[in-house]
Amino acid sequence: MALDHRKAKRIAYQAAALAALLGVAWYLVSNTLANLEARRIASGFAFLWREAGFEIGEAPFQRYSAADTYLKALVVGLANTFKVSLAGIVLATVLGAAIGLFLVSANRLLKAVSRAYVEFMRNVPLLVQLFFWYALITETLPPPPQALQPLPGVFLSNRGIFFPLPGSAPVLEGFNFSGGLAITPEFAALLVGLVTYTAAFIAEIVRAGVLSVSRGQREAAYALGLTRRLAMRHVVLPQALRVIVPPLTSQYLNLTKNSSLAVAIGYPDLVSIANTIINQTGQAIEGIAIIMAVYLTISLSISVFMNWYNARLK
């Protein structure tokens, strides 16, 4: 009897929650439809095939011009998001792993410096750091005609960083360089900001992973005559990796989500392009739906990978 009563109560709760949700949804949708009609905005994704009419500073892996469609512009934005995220993930892993190992190193000076780095990076908002790097590049570097040349053929200027490629060296033409590999100030600031910020979090994960391996393992390795370095490489790190990988993947996901801060310094990533499109067309709902769908797909793919990895470890 008591059990039936409980069951009925549970069903009633759930029905109430569902009804409330549907009610709110119906209210919002009907308001939205009325508003869209009043503002004469046609809903739907047909606008994607219209001409974009704006230029994009950088379009990796493809050609893009203002005469292309909004859809093409979004694809360029997505390519830019992937470009900065992948480069960021690789560099942040290398830097973060190095700093993480410094945090457990026997050298006290190295340890203290890495600790200070991690504390400072983690306690300042990424957005402030991005503004800082962008200001540093555009305000303190000289204009292209007076560009710094730290290495032969490599130029640092407030219009970007230029590297020579085989068969194509950067040459000064008028007020800017052409040829070679050009890195825009926006991309450079975003990449440096994402890498140095995320590396601090990765360093803490690596440190925790190394410390999670029991001391006996290390002592046994020393007893076998392994040096500190060899013991770390062959005994401690392989075991630490189990602890490191799950939080590491969530840092990769964070980095990818944080790359959306590109909009604040004008790097044309997906969010920044979608924002431009929303401002031009008024298709706010569709634009935000596209951003959210893309990021949810990335998040879900990474969590599917993580579950697969965790299952494989067991």
Binding site: F132, T140, S260, I288
Partner: protein, 325 residues
């Protein structure tokens, strides 16, 4: 080997430190004099000296700046009091309500001889502090409900909670802020509008709730099964069990990770600059647009970094002290 490394590293650090001190202190200009700044190679702290009132208080009426200053100090005091375990009593809630009312009176005014200041003119540090405070204060109860819902065992409620939490955690905060600034007006009936500050605040509350909910869930999961069974055996109802047995223990366990989430959230409130709210970063950006003072972004953002660092580092020291217990 170790000594050699220390020596090389020591030299490199000493060189960098000397370069930085030379730029930031020895060659720097401290007076608010833009001509003097242009003449030297060092840092121009004169920019901060000139603009600090605007950076800290935004467009709040100049003669009334003591009001947001006092409100900021009060707010920080409330937070500092709440950090002490001896104050974790029910009357802390009353203290907060009283404190927030005083802050509201100070900021809005219109009574006690204080001129009225509409919230469009609030800006700078107090805006950052208020967005964080109300974000956490309102997200926290919501997050407890979400965490309880996620563990309720009722399929429909569970699915709704999981769906909300994973949706919010899966997308960047900036997309939620965009949603609040451009989509929310479409959701409301014609003629009803809510101001920009409130819209951003709603977005921040929903965002924080999803992240806090996962931390609270972690605390709930750490409670041994016997606690639930014992509470059931005594005949407590669900809400009695949750309110008097489970939550008090779960939240205590969850305090250190909660503080870490709060630090992250405090940093994330800086994103409101992207939708044009007048927080600490926006006042800095606007100050940099003054032609007499353009080109001092490095100094300006170092200053912003120090302000944020002071708050976040204090909180993270606190969270570390809690963890050590």
């Amino acid at each position: 080997m170790n000594r050699l490394l220390s020596a090389v590293l020591g030299v490199v650090i000493a060189f960098l430190a000397w370069r930085f001190i030379d730029w930031a202190l020895l060659q720097a200009v401290w007076q608010p004099d833009s001509k003097a700044c242009r003449a030297v190679q060092g840092a121009c702290w004169g920019f901060i000296a000139e603009k600090h009132r605007f950076i800290l208080f935004g467009t709040y009426p100049y003669e009334q700046h003591w009001r947001p200053a006092l409100a900021s100090i009060l707010l920080v005091l409330l937070w500092a009091l709440s950090a002490w375990r001896i104050f974790w009593r029910w009357w802390l809630v009353l203290l907060w309500l009283a404190g927030l009312s005083v802050i509201g009176i100070l900021m809005w005014g219109g009574v006690l001889g204080l001129p009225y200041v509409e919230n469009e003119r609030w800006g700078g540090l107090i805006l950052t502090l208020l967005l964080s405070t109300f974000g956490i204060a309102l997200a926290f109860p919501l997050s407890i409900l979400l965490a309880l819902g996620r563990r309720s065992g009722m399929p429909v409620i569970q699915a709704l909670c999981v769906g909300f939490i994973e949706l919010v955690r899966g997308v960047p905060l900036i997309s939620i802020l965009f949603m609040a600034s451009v989509m929310l007006p479409l959701f409301l009936p014609a003629g009803v509008s809510i101001d920009k500050l409130l819209r951003a605040q709603i977005a921040l509350i929903l965002f924080a709730a999803a992240y806090l909910a996962e931390v609270v869930r972690g605390g709930l999961q750490a409670i041994p099964k016997e606690q639930y069974e014992a509470a059931d055996a005594v005949g407590l109802t669900y809400w009695q069990k949750t309110g008097t047995v489970i939550l008090p223990q779960a939240l205590r366990i969850a305090v250190p990770p909660l503080v870490n989430t709060i630090i992250g959230f405090f940093k994330d409130t800086s994103l409101v600059v992207i939708i044009g709210l007048f927080d600490l970063l926006q006042t800095i950006k606007v100050s940099l647009q003054d032609p007499a003072w353009s080109g001092y972004g490095v100094e300006a953002y170092l200053f912003a970094a120090l302000v944020y660092f002071a708050f976040c580092f204090a909180m993270s020291l606190y969270s570390r002290r809690l963890e050590r217990r």
